[in-house]
Symmetry: D3
Subunit: 131 residues, 6 copies
C-alpha cells in the first residue's frame, strides 16, 4: 500500500531525472530503488535528501559498513520495514557478515530492553557520565 | 525522579552483591553505575540482565566500540537519556572519537528522517532487497 | 492480518448500529471504513471513540484540512499504515493538494531528524522558550 | 519545563471546576494532580478526557490493579515519565506489590527486546496465529 | 518480507535443536512458531532469549494471563504486528476473554492519548508521586 | 544533561560562525538557540541542517504557522521536550493562538489513541483508501 505512485524513468521531471542520473553515477548501477521513485514526485525534497545521504553516508571517520549498520539499527527501532531491508542489503553489500548482522540484532534487542527498564525505573544520570 | 530508590552497597541482598562483585571484576573498577543500583531491588532480573549484557557486549564479530555505538544509536531512537549518556561514555572509553560521535549523530538523524518519509509514502520493498 | 474480524452491517449490535447510523449521517456517505467495523465488537469503545473524533475533528479554531494533516503527521511518527492511508484520504478530500502533502512529508522528515539529533546532544531548553 | 501554566483552583473556569469537583468526588480526595491542572486551560478536552478515563479505568472485566499496570506498561514504552510516576502510584494504591512491579518491568523489557528482534528479522505471522 | 530465512527442523544446528526440544517440552506442543525459526540462525541469542522468556514469563507474582496481556500492550505501543498476534494468541490460550481483550485495547488507546498530551503540556511530576 | 558542551560565539569555527550569521540574518534576531550551539561542534552537519530547515520551513504551499504546528505535533509523538518547547514558541510567534494550540494537542492525543487501537486490531486498509 502506498500513498503515492512509484514513478518510472519516463515520468520523471528534468530535476528528478538529474538526481536519478547522479544516484546511478555514484552507486555505479542502473538500479534505482523504490524510495527514490516515490520521492520523485517532489524533486526539491528528492534532491535535498539525496545530497544529504551522500554527505552523511559518504567517506568520513566511520567506515561504510559501520555507517550502514547504524542506519539499520535506527530503522529497526523506528519499525521501518522498507528501510531495514534496503539498508541491510546495503550493509551486506559493504561487507557485513551474517555473524555481524546477528550481533547487531542482539545489540538492538538488548538496548531496547534496557532502554525501557531504565525509563521504568527513572534512573538519574550518574555524575560520572556528565561532561 | 525515580520509581525506586537506588541501593547502596550496604543494602544489597547476597544475590545482588554477587552480581555487583562480577560487574566490578569484569569492568575492573569499583564504580557501579545507577542503573544497576536501581535494578538491584530485583536480584533475578539484575543477574539475568548483567549476564545478557556480558554476552551481547562481550568479544565477538564486532569490536567493542562499534557495539557501544550501535547501543547509543538505539538509545537515541528510543529517547532514553540515561542510556545515551552511559553508553556514549562507554563508547568514548572504548575509543570513539568526537568525529565518529558526530557522524553517529548525523546518521541517526538521517535515518530518522528517511524512516518517516518512507513510512509516509508507504514504499514497497524492492524485489532486489528480498531474500 | 487482524486480531478481530471485521463486522458486516448485519452483525452489528443495536448499540453499534446506532453509531454506524451516526457516522453515515455526519459523513453523508454509506461507506463505513474498516476501523469502525473492527472496533464494533466493543460498542462502548466504538461510541466513545466516535464521539471523541466528532468533537476533536469537528469545527473549531483550526480548519478541517489542517486538522487532518496534523492527524497524518502523528500517524506517520507512530508508524500506523492504516491511519496514514485513511487520514491522507480524508485530508485530500478536504482539500489538501499534492504540493501540501509533499511539504507535510518533508516537515515530518525534518522534525524526525532534528528530534533525534536534539535528543542525542541532550540540549537544554533555552530560557527564552520557557513560560 | 512546561508549555502551559498549571492552574490553581481559583483560576478554573466554571466548566473546569465542575470536572475538578467530579474528580474529587470519584477519587474521594481533595488532591487533584498536575495533569488536570495543565489540561484545565481547555475545559472541553479536560471534560472529555476525564469522562473517558472514568469509563476506561472504571469497573469492568479487568480489575483496577491490572488496568493500572497496563497503563504503566504503555507509558514506559512511550517514554512518558510523568505518566509512569502517576500510574505507578495509582497501581501501588490499588494493591500492586513491589514483586509485581518488578515483574511488570521485566516483562516490558523482555517485550521490548523481542519486539525489535522480530522487526529486525521481519518474521511473518504464523498461520496458527491468524483468525 | 524477511531479512533471514526461516529454518526448518532439519536445518537446525545441534545447539538450536536443543532449544527447540526445550520449547516443545515446556509448551507441550510440537508447534514451534516462526520467531524461533528466524532466530535459530544465531543459536547463542536463540538460547539466551528462550531462557529469558522462560524466566520472565514463568510462574511468579503475576498470573500467566496478566503477563501475556502486558506483553501485548507493549507490543502494540511498539507496533510489532507479529508480536501482537503471537502474544494475543497466547493470552487467549491462557484465558483472556474477548471482553478483557477489548478493555486492554481501550486502556492502551487511552494511555497513548494521555501519554502524548502530558508530553505536549510538559507536566511536572507532583511531589505526591515522588518516592 | 548534555553529551556535548554548548559553544559560545567566541568558540565557533569560521564555518560555524558563517551559519550563525545566516541564522541571525534570516531570523532577524541576535538570539541563536541552544540547538545550534550544541550542533556547532560539527560545522558540516550544522550547515546542512540549517540549509534544510530553511528550505523545508520556508515559504511554500503551507503557511509558516501550519508548518510549525506540524513540527510540534511530530515532536510530541517523538517525545522531544526541547523541540516541543522551541517549535511551540515558534508557532506562537507565527500566530498560533492558545485555542489552536489546545486543538493541536487534542488532535495529537486522539491520533495517538486511534493509531494504537488500529495497530492492536490489525485493521486492513480499505480499498477505498488505496491509490
Amino acid at each position: 500500500m502506498a500513498t503515492v505512485r512509484l514513478l518510472t524513468d519516463d515520468e520523471l521531471s528534468p530535476e528528478a531525472r538529474a538526481v536519478f542520473d547522479d544516484i546511478r553515477a555514484v552507486r555505479q548501477t542502473e538500479f534505482v530503488n523504490n524510495f527514490w521513485r516515490a520521492l520523485a514526485h517532489d524533486p526539491v525534497t528528492l534532491k535535498r535528501t539525496w545530497e544529504s545521504i551522500k554527505q552523511v553516508m559518504g567517506p568520513g571517520a566511520l567506515d561504510a559498513k559501520t555507517k550502514e549498520m547504524l542506519y539499520v539499527a535506527v530503522s529497526i527501532a523506528h519499525g521501518c520495514n522498507y528501510c531495514i531491508h534496503s539498508h541491510t542489503a546495503a550493509a551486506r553489500a559493504k561487507g557485513m557478515t551474517e555473524a555481524e548482522f546477528a550481533e547487531l540484532i542482539a545489540i538492538v534487542g538488548m538496548a531496547s530492553e534496557t532502554n525501557r527498564i531504565v525509563t521504568a525505573l527513572g534512573v538519574e544520570v550518574d555524575d560520572e557520565f556528565k561532561l
